[in-house]
């Protein structure tokens, strides 16, 4: 077999477009899963603002579901959630339970 030269190798480590990290899922890092309880949500959007992983979706200014493909389960959203009448709208639940 004829040995391959460098020109025959498939190109690698080339960034072809901005924001390509969306193809790399970080959700598997999670040990605790945040669960959204819509009935206690006052739509303050603090969870969206403070999420370091851009894993909380907002549609037309309204909070939508978590993006579990990317949420690393840090729990900042649950801690900062003001909730309604003392009841939090986000609760952390252990994965696999």
């Amino acid at each position: 077999m004829k040995p391959k030269g460098w020109k025959d190798l498939a190109p690698g480590a080339v960034v072809l477009e901005g924001g390509s990290a969306v193809n790399f899922k970080t959700g598997s890092w999670r040990a605790f899963r945040p669960v959204w309880k819509e009935e206690n949500c006052i739509q303050c959007l603090f969870c969206w603002l403070y999420c370091p992983d851009m894993a909380i979706k907002v549609k037309d200014g309204k909070r939508a579901e978590f993006d579990y493909d990317f949420c690393k389960g840090c729990g900042i959203c649950a801690l900062e959630c003001p909730g309604k009448k003392g009841k939090k709208a986000i609760e952390m639940v252990e994965e696999g339970k």
Partner: protein, 310 residues
């Protein structure tokens, strides 16, 4: 089009730092970058000094940035960006570009306070039209929590480990915001992600000022601070409310405190949840905890005096 500073409006903007980045769970830095970019209503070009933010947002073919972004070495984020900014001015003068573009350099405290200080100082002195943003987590977290000149007094790091010989770092942190202001630049400010409105207002203001701007933003690191993954916002709030990290700006030499805590809490409340200060709560290190509090009080008083003088 300028966006108002309401979360509802801001949430409609595109993420210019996307998910899928590999910063640690609960890291403060992506939140800082997110807030800075949300407050930027212009096309923007960024440079990024080596550090956590740089290595974990661009790995192999994956990049989390949706803006033109240059990875620079540890020491030259400001120098690289000043070159890009100069090229932009030249192209604009020759009529080859007409867009209004803004320039932001990001660096951690290691790349800003220590290794990148001379290139930053140079870029500020030459007067390039850019914002340098330091996300300050108080040590070289990326390489394994080595002390930097931003590490606070008494903190335990791997190169100033607390034990029977020394009780953590014995030197105070360098006041970089004041050092940058001493370059007589038009704008230098300190901000915290817990006070997002204050942070974003400062970024917006900085973009409208021509010339070199510097912002020092607190960025909690739960790995290096030995705290929980969920407390980056809580801790930055305590840092502000204890006046360990006062929020102020220096515009054309005039100091203005942008947020005064309603009740100044003891700095121990900020330090207690952090493992890097655990040893300071042992009886033999009581003197050091007292020294930290005295230092915070002294700096806060000094700042208030400066703000009064204008």
């Amino acid at each position: 089009m300028a966006t108002g500073l309401t979360l509802k409006e801001l949430s409609k903007k595109e993420d210019r730092l996307t998910h899928g980045h590999r910063m640690c769970s609960g890291c403060g830095a992506p939140t800082v970058v997110k807030m800075v970019l949300l407050a930027t209503d212009y096309p923007v070009i960024a440079s990024n000094a080596t550090g956590c933010l740089e290595v974990s947002t661009c790995i192999s073919e994956y990049t989390a940035w949706k803006i033109p972004w240059i990875h620079t070495a540890f020491e030259n984020a400001a120098a690289t960006l000043s070159g890009v900014e100069t090229m932009y001015r030249s192209l604009k003068k020759r009529g080859m570009i007409d867009k209004e573009i803004k320039f932001i350099a990001f660096g951690g405290d290691g790349g800003t306070y220590d290794i990148g200080l001379q290139s930053l100082s140079g870029a500020m002195e030459r007067g390039h039209d850019m914002i340098y943003i330091c996300y300050d987590n108080g040590a070289y977290m990326n390489t394994g929590i080595q002390r930097s000149s931003a590490t606070p007094l008494g903190a335990d790091t791997t190169t100033c480990p607390a034990g029977s010989v020394i009780p953590g770092k014995l030197r105070s942190r360098k006041d970089l915001t004041k050092i940058m202001a001493a370059h007589n630049i038009p704008y230098a400010a300190q901000a915290s992600p817990s006070h997002w409105m204050d942070l974003m207002k400062k970024v917006k203001k900085a973009h409208e000022i021509k010339g070199p701007k510097f912002m020092n933003i607190l960025s909690p690191c739960n790995r290096g601070w030995r705290s929980k993954t969920n407390d980056s916002i809580t801790l930055s709030k305590l840092a502000v409310n204890s006046c360990y990290w006062p929020l102020y700006e220096i515009e054309d030499g005039v100091t203005k405190i942008t947020y005064t805590p309603k009740e100044k809490v003891p700095v121990a409340e900020f330090m207690k949840p952090q493992g890097r200060f655990k040893h300071l709560f042992a009886p033999e290190n009581e003197w050091l905890l007292k020294a930290v509090q005295e230092e915070v009080d002294k700096e806060w008083e000094k700042l208030q005096k400066e703000a009064k003088c204008g």
